[in-house]
Amino acid sequence: MKPMLAALVLLASLGVPLLAVAADPLASPGWPIAQNRFLTGKTYVFDDRVQVIVPRDAEDSTAVPGFVRVQGIPDVQQIMVFAELNPIPMIVQFWPHRLEPNIGFRFKVQQATPVRAAALGADGIWYIGGAWVNAAGGGCSAPSIASADADWAERLGEVHSRIWNRGDEGRRLRLTVMHPMDTGLAAGIPKFYLEELVLVDDADKHLGRVEVHASVAENPTLTFDLRTGGSVRIQGADNNGNRMLGEVE
């Protein structure tokens, strides 16, 4: 990877378009469109230091686990995660700021698709990793189980969270927000989803922010790796203006 990367960086610095050079390692028919949509005008390179962990098969297409781990790329500014053959491709956009450039999430898939993570380095280059997930489908257009349940409204916006001290691996925050995450693709059920989560420390310092898209699975369950100590406040908002708040030590 390294020599290829160096060559691309060189080309980039000379102003040579990279698009012709970087062939999609996942050979996806959706790549040209995804690239157009999310990376137009951006310099990018495929790099396996951006790891995307997903199952080979989506046993449950309404809640597929994913974890993005970026190792060895300094000062990651932003991470975009998208499933390019999904009707709603974007899954999360993550600004790690004072957090590690890792994020765990669960998402819906409509059909077999690559899942990509594009990490923006301090050098202005987007580093892209990815993996295919096979799916029989239906995840995005299936109504959420929560909206079928009569008393989901009472639990809407509940935040449950926990911090682990994992020794050498540092502190980890995991959280779940009760939310139906309706995509608007199921007949008669409007778009209704958690849009944003902001993490703040006990001195009110901004730790990181994540934009959550409707392709995230019902009751969003996310994992963050912390670099700092102390308690964390979780501030969330959905597209209907509901606000959620959680705090964890």
Binding site: A63, P65, R106, A136, V159, W164, R166, L245
Partner: protein, 318 residues
């Protein structure tokens, strides 16, 4: 669901219809005790090559007719099974038992439409309710082999207890753990030969499947089974066993699975990271272990994870 399913059926019929005549499961009845036979499936996943024949079915011949245990993954399987039974006995089928609601065990029911097809009430209910989804999955996996297959819900309620068919005494056992929490899994015991048709309570040489499992309940059933130690045990998948090895193997795997996923969640692992967990050497010889482990993470991790997270700090909307 129905229009989509119908479209799907039509699609497969068009695509594969012309090959259908050549499809043959090559079912060979194997006599494992006097008058007790099995059809042994392959140690694979559902594919278009095996047509879903990954399951063990069986039958017991009595002088009042044949008792059939499970009807396999498709109408074609059921029909070919019935023909194969007729090669070893003139007795007609008089009763069918369905062990549980998983599609590879009952989709041959159409071939036995003239015979009472008996299952536990929960199994009857789930098959009636989820017929489309169960069928849909099998069509996708097995293709042309499924042609003409419909989900026929068992029309007879099985009661736990002893019954006499001709000269034979059979026991029907209602247990649980593999396909539900309570009275979801049926086993049939033939007293004369000491043969237990265990359904998917026991897997042998193949990783257990867990889509509707309650592992603790299942493990308790396996512990009881090990004490009773039937002379011959027919697992739902894998070779027949004459000792407790298959029971212990299934229990050891389930115990490892449960403990490992609980420990992973308690240590703060994300569900996707659980997919990366190492499978111990002792289970690596189990057929389809990698695929089944991945599926089990889907089936089991979310509930464990919720317990772990909901045990943590909880706050609400503001």
């Amino acid at each position: 669901m129905m229009p989509r399913l119908n479209a799907l059926l039509g699609f497969y019929a068009l695509l594969y219809g012309s090959f259908a005549a050549a499809l043959d499961y090559q079912l060979q009845p194997r006599e494992i005790a006097a008058g007790v036979y099995i059809f042994e499936g392959r140690q694979e996943h559902f594919t278009r090559h095996n047509g879903g024949n990954i399951v063990n079915t069986g039958f017991v011949i009595t002088d009042a007719g044949v008792v059939v245990i499970d009807t396999g993954p498709s109408r074609l399987y059921g029909e070919q099974m019935r023909k194969a039974i007729a090669t070893v006995t003139d007795q007609p089928p008089v009763q069918v038992f369905i062990t549980h609601h998983h599609p590879d065990h009952f989709l041959g029911n159409q071939a036995f439409a003239d015979v009472p097809i008996c299952a536990l009430p929960l199994t009857q209910k789930i098959i009636a309710r989820d017929a489309d989804a169960l069928l849909d999955n099998m069509y996708r996996a097995a293709g042309a082999w499924m042609e003409g297959t419909e989900a026929v819900a068992p029309n007879c309620r099985a009661e736990a207890g002893k019954l006499t068919v001709g000269e034979r005494r059979l026991s029907v056992l209602a247990v649980a753990g593999h396909s539900g929490d309570e009275a979801s899994d049926l086993m049939v015991y033939d007293h004369r030969s000491g043969t237990l048709f265990a359904g998917d309570i026991v897997f042998h040489g193949r990783a257990a499947t867990t889509p509707h499992a309650n592992i603790q309940v299942w493990l308790q059933v396996l512990r009881d089974l090990e004490r009773q130690q039937p002379q011959i045990l027919v697992p739902g998948h894998g070779p027949t066993a004459t000792d407790s090895r298959a029971i212990r193997e299934t229990a050891a795997y389930l115990e490892w699975l449960d403990t490992t996923l609980r420990e992973a969640a308690a240590a703060g692992l994300d569900m996707a990271e659980a997919l990366e967990l190492e499978i111990p050497e002792r289970f690596k010889s189990l057929a389809v272990i990698d695929e089944e482990f991945e599926r089990s993470v889907f089936h089991l991790f979310p509930a464990i994870d919720q317990e772990v997270l909901h045990g943590g700090a909880g706050n609400g909307t503001r």
